[in-house]
Amino acid sequence: MRKSWIPVGILWLSYSVLMMFAVANFSWLPAEWSEEAHVVDSAMLLLQYLGAPVMALVLAVMTWSVIGWRDKGATRQDGENIHGHRGIVTGWLIITSLLAIYVVINPGFVGLAEIRGEPSSDHVITLHGQQFAWSVEYENGATALDELVVPADARVRYDVMSADVLHSFWIPAFRIKIDAVPGLTTQAYATATREGSMNDDVNLRIQCAELCGPGHARMALPVRVVSEQEFLTYIDNLKAGG
């Protein structure tokens, strides 16, 4: 009974360290273009760090099963009659519960508050989803069908509507998403942090994320982040032109 703790423990530690090293050094996350993106990515990273030792534990047991506990001589004999162990079960319950509670609080509620808390905004942009295109309506009434222009360093509220079926308003570079529901106006907030366009990053696009029919895959619209000044000029011109 005793002797397995040591190799499994060593394996567990090494796997944990390896995985945490991998998490720290090889990020799978795309570039961040908004404050919300940073919140989401930090949460994602934290969950990866927390997941590493959990995953490592099971992998350690699986590894040692093959190396240490395989019935090598094909003896076909029974193992020890261990039915359970009250202490271990209770301990496990306490640890997993604490872990779950921790995750609910952080990143759970903390992230939730940062992303969907505080309903204030500097600008409001309305998006109308319709099979299979987005149209943009700015605060001065100007409308556009070819791109979404967003001011940097300003908190924007996106009001999202649909004229037919469910769609979903998603800007991967901002990590925000909210469905467009016929009959409802739904809302999302984002603060863009730097200027750029879809030429810089494919994720600077609105992508419809809810299956809405044949044209769903291509229901996308380029997003361009500009300075607030440029933004105001852009929507004025748009209004004058339209």
Binding site: S4, V61, G79, N81, L93, F109
Partner: protein, 609 residues
């Protein structure tokens, strides 16, 4: 085959008369949705009557004694047999065939997705294939393990001669072929393109294939509910003397928990689809933006479909726990805690549905409670892992194919569970929802958790069911091959999802080509592994070496009778005298057969060596 032929004739007659009736009464066209509904309902009745309902039920209604199939050999699989073992095999073969058809549709999708732009199919066809693939596979995952092995194994494990309601059991199975025909026939009416989730209002306005989807899935719900009812009553009332709840084998416990859940929630999917159908044909407006509400469908749908994911995976837990004790030659670690965990999963799983709706636009104050409850499920799920770890600990592991596949299951389900936490967390889910990350997550949980369990169970009980041993080398190669290829297919898709690729798309930005190409090649390799699986089993079922009653030295009742078991399973009533997993206890036995004392003695020799 005579009865199947009669069923087909009556089904076609039924369909045509249903259509004719609405055309005459209502003056609509022959492909009008009302005509399709009337046709389907009469076809279903005709089919059930034809395959054996007339003899099994109809005769009773006119005061004669009912009759069911008494055939032996191959014939009985095509007849209205009420033997739970025959029915289990019927489920198994039907669902594995559906699995292969669903697999082919996946191959088409992966070929299309190997590079951006459209190649073999167009965008709309892609959506239709993805919808068909989704629903076929969901059906296999929901009914696979419980339909095939639940039926075959549970009555024997509890020491019963059959199910509590054998005729009902047969009726439930014979409802299954119409489900497959309905779904696969939908392309003749324009197919359905709203995904397996069939969110309204898209499912109210798309082509008429949707109506066949609705009818087939309502029928499938009936299969689930009747099957679940049967298992519940069987386990409650038919246990052998001495088979207390505390001695119930863990696979039976898992099947019982699954059935509780399926019996309670399945009607909600049917309800949602009835509302969709009424919006389509009866002029109601449940989901119309002006009158009804846009989120109603999602709430009803997920009230079933979240629990459904546990309907898929709980029998998988049972299979893996059963295998791990047998091949580790150790008692199941913390048996009572596992049972408590199974039951708490049943309870919790009906109160977490809105974690599928964090971006749906539902009220923000609902996010917190659903996040808490969702994270809470990871605690009982953790107990299942603890039990597996505790059982493997210091075991004498016998690495036969079932255990190898079980190890694949363990790895996959671990990844599925951990990625579930990312989706349960509102902040991260807002980004990940409806992306390929979710696709990868649920493939890890469903293929990893339910289909791998189906494969492991197939190898484990194959010698019992056929009386012959599968080829071990081919089995091991398959186990390793399928695990590696599966992981190679779905790991890159986590990356694609995190990096901005949404799901259910036939085309995508060029930036995601690398990951998709890798996934596509791996998927083809994964698909090919199933040739080895099917080949091995088909060959071995006919040519394999005789397996004997108990090739695994297991202790539960199904291994204490001959392979395959006799018609009524036992030659005399077994008496349960001990725990099913008392490995390592000198002289302990689980059951003995009073009339065959020597036989029981012999078993005892075998299991305690």
């Amino acid at each position: 085959m005579k009865y199947v032929a009669r069923g087909l004739v009556l089904a076609v007659t039924g369909y045509l008369s249903g259509v004719a009736l609405t055309v005459i009464i209502n003056g609509n066209g022959a492909t009008d949705e009302l005509a399709v509904i009337a046709g389907y309902v009469l076809a279903l009745i005709g089919w059930l009557a034809g395959v054996g309902g007339i003899e099994a039920f109809g005769r009773q209604w006119i005061g004669k004694t009912p009759k069911v199939s008494e055939s032996q050999g191959w014939k009985r699989y095509f007849e209205f047999s009420i033997d739970h073992k025959v029915i289990g095999i019927q489920y198994g073969v039907t669902l594995i065939s559906v699995l292969l058809i669903g697999g082919l549709s996946a191959m088409i999708m992966r070929i299309e997705l190997a590079s951006p732009g459209m190649g073999v199919v167009d965008l709309d066809d892609f959506n239709k294939i993805v919808s068909m693939h989704g629903i076929l596979m969901v059906a296999v995952a929901v009914a696979g393990v419980i339909g095939a092995f639940g039926n075959y194994v549970i009555p024997i494990q509890i020491g019963a001669a059959d199910m509590a309601f054998p005729r009902l059991n047969a009726l439930a199975y014979w409802l299954l072929p119409p489900v497959a025909v309905g779904l696969l026939g939908a392309p003749f009416l324009g197919a359905f393109n709203a995904g397996w989730t069939s969110y309204a209002p898209l499912s109210v306005t798309n082509d008429s294939g949707q109506i066949l989807f609705n009818l087939a899935i309502i029928t499938f719900g009936l299969v689930s509910i009747l099957g679940a009812l049967n298992i519940l009553v069987t386990v409650i009332t038919m246990r052998a003397p001495g088979m207390t709840w505390g001695r119930l084998p863990i696979f039976t416990w898992a099947g019982f928990a699954t059935s509780l859940l399926a019996f309670t929630v399945t009607q909600f999917f049917a309800a949602a689809l009835v509302l969709v159908t009424m919006d389509r044909v009866a002029g109601t407006a449940f989901f119309s933006p002006d009158v009804g509400t846009g989120l109603l469908y999602e709430h009803i749908f997920w009230f079933y479909s979240h629990p459904a994911v546990y309907i898929m995976v709980l029998p998988g837990f049972g299979v893996i726990l059963e295998l791990v004790t047998t091949f580790a030659r150790k008692p199941l670690f913390a048996y009572k805690a596992v049972v408590a965990a199974l039951l708490s999963i049943v309870g919790l799983s009906v109160v977490v549905w809105a974690h599928h709706m964090f971006t749906s636009g539902m009220a923000d104050f609902l996010h917190g409670p659903f996040m808490i409850l969702t994270e809470a499920i990871s605690i009982p799920t953790g107990i299942i892992f603890l039990s597996i770890i505790g059982t493997l600990w210091q075991g004498r592991l016998w690495f036969r194919t079932p255990l190898i596949v079980a190890f694949g299951w363990l790895f996959n389900f671990l990844i599925g569970g951990i990625t579930g936490i990312f989706l349960a967390d509102v902040a991260t889910d807002i980004h990940l929802h409806d992306t390929y990350f979710v696709v990868a997550h649920f493939h890890y949980t469903i293929v990893g958790g339910a289909i791998f369990a189906l494969l492991a169970a197939t190898f484990y009980w194959f010698p019992k069911i056929t009386g012959r041993m599968y080829n071990e080398t081919a089995g091991r190669i398959f186990g390793i091959w399928v695990t590696l290829a599966f992981n190679a297919t779905f790991i890159p898709l986590f990356w694609a999802g995190m990096n901005g690729m949404n799901r259910r798309v036939g085309d995508y930005p060029a930036a995601f080509e690398g990951a998709n190409k890798f996934a596509s090649v791996s998927a083809l390799i994964l698909g090919a592994s199933f040739l080895l699986f099917v080949g091995n089993l088909l060959y071995s079922a006919i040519r394999g070496p005789k397996a004997g009653p108990n090739p695994w030295n297991a202790r539960t009742l199904e291994w204490l009778v001959e392979s395959p078991p006799s018609q009524h399973n036992f030659h005399s009533q077994p008496r349960i005298v001990g725990h099913p997993y008392d490995y390592g206890v000198e002289g302990s036995i689980h059951a003995h057969f009073p009339d065959e004392e020597p036989h029981a003695e012999e078993q005892r020799e075998e299991v305690t060596v």
